[in-house]
Symmetry: C2
Subunit: 197 residues, 2 copies
C-alpha cells in the first residue's frame, strides 16, 4: 500500500466536512428546508467545491445515505460473526440500534425517518436495504432452527423489532426522557416472548 500523499497536502477532507454539516442540517430542519448556501455556511466549503464533489444537492443526500447503510451493514456482519444463536444475534442488533440512537441520534434519524423517496424519487425504501433484509433473514433462520415459533416471516420480524423501532422513534421525538438502554431488557423479554410457542 502506498501512502496517500493527496490527503496529506490538504488538511481537511472536503466530502467529510460537507457530509457532517449536511447530516446536521438535514435532520435538524429537513432536507428541503436546507439550502446549499446553508451547507456552505455551516461547512465552510464553497458552493463550487460542493457541486464539484457531489454533482447536485441530491448527491449529498445520496452519498450520506450510502455511507450510513454500509456502516450499519458492517455492524450486522460483525454481530453475525460474534454470536451463534439467533436469539443473541437479534438481541445484539437491538442493542446496537439503541446505542446508535443514543450516541448519534442524527445518524438514526437520517436512516429511519428521512423520506428518501422524496429526495431521490426512484430509490427503494430503507426497509429494502441490505441491513434491513439481513435483520429479516436472521428471523427466518431462527424459525428454521426452531428458536422461533413457525409463522409468517414478516409477522415474526415485525413482532421482534416493532417494539424497538417504536421506542427509538419515541426517543428521537423527545417523548422518552430516559436513555433507551434502561428499557432494553424489559423490551427484549416482551419481544422474544411474542414469538415463543
Amino acid at each position: 500500500m502506498q501512502i496517500m500523499i493527496s490527503t496529506i497536502k490538504s488538511n481537511r477532507n472536503i466530502p467529510e466536512v460537507v457530509l457532517k454539516a449536511a447530516i446536521h442540517l438535514f435532520t435538524e430542519q429537513g432536507y428541503f428546508n436546507t439550502s446549499v448556501p446553508d451547507i456552505v455556511k455551516k461547512s465552510g466549503v464553497s458552493t463550487g467545491s460542493i457541486y464539484h464533489h457531489f454533482g447536485d444537492k441530491t448527491g449529498i443526500a445520496k452519498a450520506l445515505f450510502e455511507m450510513l447503510v454500509k456502516r450499519m451493514e458492517n455492524a450486522f456482519d460483525d454481530i453475525e460473526r460474534k454470536h451463534d444463536s439467533v436469539q443473541s444475534r437479534l438481541r445484539a442488533v437491538i442493542e446496537y440500534l439503541f446505542q446508535l440512537t443514543e450516541e448519534e441520534p442524527e445518524v438514526m434519524t437520517y436512516m429511519l425517518f428521512i423520506k428518501h423517496k422524496e429526495i431521490m424519487p426512484n430509490m427503494a425504501p430503507v426497509c429494502s436495504s441490505k441491513p434491513f433484509t439481513k435483520m429479516r433473514q436472521m428471523v427466518v433462520d431462527g424459525m428454521a432452527n426452531g428458536e422461533i415459533k413457525t409463522m409468517d416471516n414478516m409477522v415474526a420480524a415485525a413482532s421482534l423489532f416493532g417494539g424497538a423501532f417504536r421506542l427509538i422513534s419515541l426517543r428521537l421525538d423527545g417523548v422518552l426522557e430516559r436513555p433507551l438502554m434502561e428499557y432494553q431488557d424489559e423490551l427484549w423479554r416482551c419481544a422474544w416472548q411474542s414469538v415463543q410457542k
Copy 2:
C-alpha cells in the same frame, strides 16, 4: 337547526376539493415537491381562493392534519364505547388502523409518515397527539386492571403496537403484497402474548 343555504348556492366545497387534491399530491410526491400551482391544477381552484381559505401553503397541511387527527380520535372514542375489556379495545384499534391503511392509504401515510415538524416547525410530534395518547392510556388501564403484565408503560405500548406499525409501514412501502387483514390474527396473538405473565 337551519338549512345551510350557503352550501346550496355553490355546487362544490372549495376547502374540501383543495384538501383532497393536496393529500394526494403531498403523499405521492411529498409536501416540498408540491407547489401551490400544482394544487391549483389538480383541484381546479384558483391561487387566490386557496390563499383566501388557507392563508398560506402550510395552512393547507395544517387543516388536513387536524381533520384527520380529529377523525381518528372519534374512531377511538367509538371503540371505547363498543368494547369493555382492554384486550378487545386494543385489538379493535389495530383492526381499525389496518383497515384504514388498506382503504385510504394516503390518509395513513399522511398521518404517520409525513414529517410535520419540517412543515410546521413548532408542532408537537404525531405520537403526542390525542389518538396516540389515547392508545397509550388504554394500555395503562389494562395494566391497572390486571389484563396486562405490570411493566413500564412505554415498553408495554411499544410491544403491543410496534408490530402493527411495522406491518403498516411495510405495506405502505409496497414490501407486503397481501392486505394487512391476512396478517391480523397472527400479529395480534404475538402482540398480546408479549405482555402476558
